[in-house]
């Protein structure tokens, strides 16, 4: 008996009891659909995080003043007055791989324009920031080096701040806003960038020269900065450049070997890796739970196949009386189980695809169709069919023809 004939015999047997066949498949369908949906959701989340982190800037290295690992008292990152403009100049001089640098010092305050006001992040930075973060100015211009030198009272608005102070889509270039009772001139508006890697709204911010924050917005006049944003000249160079920066800053600050840094250097890769690990764990967990339902589906198939073997004992006896060998019967039932799980698996993939698509459409959850998970699910479905189908099939193959024919 050829495999093709076996498959046809199995399909006919399944077709004789359509409702039961459909119900048996349902377990498999739901199991596979759950796995596909969970993995699709997990992948979607991961992809979104990756694009968010990429949107922060490429080859990005951030230096923050202070180090929570230093001393008995935590100063908080950015809180310790350990970074200065001289450090920025030292890095610019001694680390050629650091292509763009921007000193940063930020504050938070109420911003007032005519009759509206808005509380937002005021980010003091340098002229190279748009290059580092790959962030265009939508209307107007970014401030220039002379603004920084003179601590000019100029500002470039994030699109959310513009929307809240001047109305959506308004052109505020040339208008004036007030921060801490001082009048700032609006130079431009940044293009919308969306949510950042940690869920913060990157567009809810105002950029001003860091010197202006130091001299005009913070009470004290000083040369301290809270951080430096750096762009390395190539992705491969990010880690070497980060190491060089660490060395330069340790020399600048006169930290003897063995003592901890009084600053923190973080690269884009660190952040990406951390977030990816988090979502991978979540995806694995969810897929694992969904996998349990796959196994339950497989047990359902075994259950039905066992019932089916008992119910069709006379049929098996008859087939044997007509010359079917043990292996013919074994294959017939095994193929039935595999068809159940494979067809269930394929329908489950369709359903899982449909569910994740509608999650994306209706709830706007990002999903990514996982091609490898689909292959895995089909393979797993077939394996479940073989594994859970084998025992009932072997039971059937071992039956004695005459006992089976007498079976009531």
């Amino acid at each position: 008996m050829t495999l093709l004939v076996t498959i046809r015999v199995a399909l006919k047997a399944l077709g004789r009891n359509k409702l039961r066949t459909a119900l048996t498949m349902l377990g498999m369908i739901i199991g596979v659909a759950a796995v596909i949906t969970m993995v699709a959701l997990g992948r979607g989340a991961q992809q979104e995080i990756e694009t968010q982190i990429q949107s922060a800037g490429t080859n990005l290295i951030r230096v923050r003043a202070g180090n929570f690992r230093r001393g008995g008292v935590s100063m908080g990152v950015g809180g310790a007055p350990t970074l200065t403009v001289e450090d920025v100049e030292a890095i610019r001089r001694e680390v050629p791989g650091a292509r763009y640098l921007a000193a940063g010092v930020s504050t938070r305050d109420q911003v007032i324009a005519a009759n509206r006001n808005w509380n937002t992040q005021i980010e003091g930075t340098d002229v190279e920031l748009p290059l580092i973060r790959i962030w265009d100015v939508e209307t107007g211009v970014f401030f220039n080096p002379s603004h920084v030198r003179s601590a000019a009272k100029v500002a470039v608005l994030g699109s959310v701040v513009r929307d809240n102070l001047f109305g959506e889509g308004a052109d505020p270039v040339g208008e004036r806003i007030r921060i801490r009772n001082q009048s700032f001139q609006v130079l431009g508006v940044m293009a919308p960038k969306g949510t950042g890697g940690f869920g913060q709204d990157q567009d809810d911010t105002i950029f001003v020269p860091y010197t202006t924050v130091q001299k005009k917005l913070r009470g004290r006049d000083g040369t301290n900065i809270s951080g430096i944003t750096i762009s390395a000249d190539s992705p491969d160079n990010v880690n070497p450049v980060a190491d060089e920066i660490t060395a330069v800053l340790r020399a600048q600050h006169g930290i003897p070997p063995g003592e901890p840094d009084d600053f923190m250097v973080r690269t884009q890769t660190d952040i990406t890796t951390m977030r990816s690990q988090m979502t991978q764990t979540m995806t694995g967990l969810l897929a694992g739970i969904a996998g349990v339902s796959l196994i339950v589906g497989g047990i359902g198939i075994m259950n039905i196949m066992l019932v089916s073997v008992t119910e069709r004992t006379r049929e098996i006896g008859l087939r044997m009386a007509l010359g079917a060998k043990g292996r013919h019967v074994l294959w017939q039932f095994l193929v039935e189980a595999i068809v159940l799980s494979l067809v269930g698996g394929v329908v489950g993939i369709g359903l899982g695809f449909g569910v994740s698509e509608s999650l994306t459409r209706v709830l706007l959850w990002p999903t990514a169709f996982p091609a490898d998970a689909v292959a895995l699910a089909v393979g797993f479905a077939a394996a479940v069919g073989i594994f859970f189908g084998f025992y009932p099939a072997r039971q059937a193959a071992r039956l004695d023809p005459i006992d089976s024919l007498r079976f009531e």
Partner: protein, 193 residues
């Protein structure tokens, strides 16, 4: 040489403490072309004897040679081959596959034949057999759409489709009324002629 040669054939069932000696030392030769009836009261071991002749069951003692070959000590698979190619068996209760057409029921033994028979050839032979038992116009009917006599004729066609050396029928008219019984027995005589 006889087709069937049985020597001192016995079958004993042991169900717990009780031993049932269903067949006790039968000696029998049947030549090709013979038409033989086994008669006896209910419970006298007719069916058990038929099952052993049909290679569905094995004797506990004695020998059974089918076409000169001792079949009482063959493996399960060897017995399956013999049932498939040498023996046609007709049961009292028809034993047709439900929800399966007469044609497909008759094709069934051909599915399990050693060198596989192609689909078209299976169909041709099954149709010829159904024609031989007078059911050419019922090939696509399901068993539940056929009368008892017609069902038994499908079963006979199925038993003959592999051109066996012997045709065994265990009370083939037991489930049929007297008129239909006569028809079925006439069919057997006709086939034997």
């Amino acid at each position: 040489m006889p087709v069937i040669a049985v020597r001192d054939l016995a079958k004993t069932y042991s169900t717990g403490a009780v031993e049932v000696r269903a067949v006790r030392g039968v000696n029998l030769d049947i030549e090709a072309g013979e038409f033989v009836a086994v008669v006896g009261p209910s419970g006298s071991g007719k069916s058990t004897f038929m099952h052993i002749l049909g290679c569905l069951d094995r004797p506990t003692r004695g020998s059974y040679e089918l076409e000169g070959r001792d079949v009482s000590r063959l493996t399960r698979d060897q017995l399956a081959d013999i049932r498939n190619t040498k023996i046609g068996f007709v049961f009292q209760g028809f034993n047709l596959l439900a929800r399966t057409s007469a044609l497909e029921n008759v094709e069934l033994p051909l599915l399990y034949r050693g060198p596989s028979v192609r689909g078209a050839e299976r169909r041709r032979r099954a149709l010829a057999m159904l024609d031989a038992v007078g059911l050419a116009d019922r090939v696509d009917h399901m068993p539940n759409q056929l009368s008892g006599g017609q069902q038994q004729r499908v079963a006979i066609a199925r038993a003959l489709v592999n051109d066996p050396a012997i045709l065994l029928a265990d009370e083939p008219t037991g489930n049929l009324d007297s008129t239909t019984s006569r028809e079925v027995l006439d069919l057997f005589r006709q086939l034997n002629a």
